[in-house]
Symmetry: C2
Subunit: 188 residues, 2 copies
Amino acid sequence: MGRWEPNASGRLARAALELYLERGFEQVTVAEIAKRAGLTERTFFRHYADKREVLFAGSGQLQELLVGAADAAPGSAAPIDVVAAALLAVSAEFQERHEFARQRQAVIAANAELQERELSKLAALSAALTQALRRRGVAEPGASLAAETGVAVFKVAFERWISADDEQEFAHYIRESLGELRVVAAGA
Amino acid sequence: MGRWEPNASGRLARAALELYLERGFEQVTVAEIAKRAGLTERTFFRHYADKREVLFAGSGQLQELLVGAADAAPGSAAPIDVVAAALLAVSAEFQERHEFARQRQAVIAANAELQERELSKLAALSAALTQALRRRGVAEPGASLAAETGVAVFKVAFERWISADDEQEFAHYIRESLGELRVVAAGA
């Protein structure tokens, strides 16, 4: 076993993002990431399976947080309020990682394969949220539609949050998108 | 140039789907598809770039149809009504290909790479619809949210249509999902 490095995974993630932004995701090797972080390749592989996983390592945790918040909502809550509670719980987690989120998004936007991977992760979030709503007794198509709509709200809010110049919190954009959803749907 | 084969692309698509369902997408070769269709490999490649394109060849046309219907909606239409008109136009096109759509979905559901590709196509539809709404003067985040919500409605309706035992048209499920969207959003 190598020696323990304080916050190695964070240092590796920052080094990886820097390099991906500088030179493009495809061009960067694990050896270069480790070197930039002042760590060994062996330490890299103790934290991440490959260079792609640096970008997606948090998604399991994100899903747990989302589903946990949905499960914790009051039994009387309407499906969209369950979804809102779940999105707001997630937004709090993102809030501390604004710069990381912004850089990560720029890397993903520049690479078709990473975009497909990201869409796949979002689809998994939607499926997990659908299951959480069904467990609460929400019937179909309501459960699927509330979950898919929730992911739509999340995507739009996220895009606005990372491209905004102001200092508004992610939660602000989640609430804005939820408000806009009401306006959009009521127009029908 | 080979000789012209009547409806070669349709015969190839049917043969490909049969084989993908029988043996799994990965296992099937273009040579086998051509043989099953009673055509040559050369004819296959005159119609499709590769075996994956058999499943996604219609997506450009679908996007044109969607955007065309959005552009053709009355200037006074609310964003969600523009989206509804676009989805209903698309649903009419799907209606004649129920069995193809059902089989195609089963093939895609069994293969992670095809699923990512499908999600990517849906994201492209959403982006095209967002642009169509912006051209009509719909501001952000309304345009993105209406488009993303429209794709959510489409996904849920599609899933229900292809898994339903009844003889309801796809348009029925689009209307059902749009109605459910109003209920979901109003609960907020």
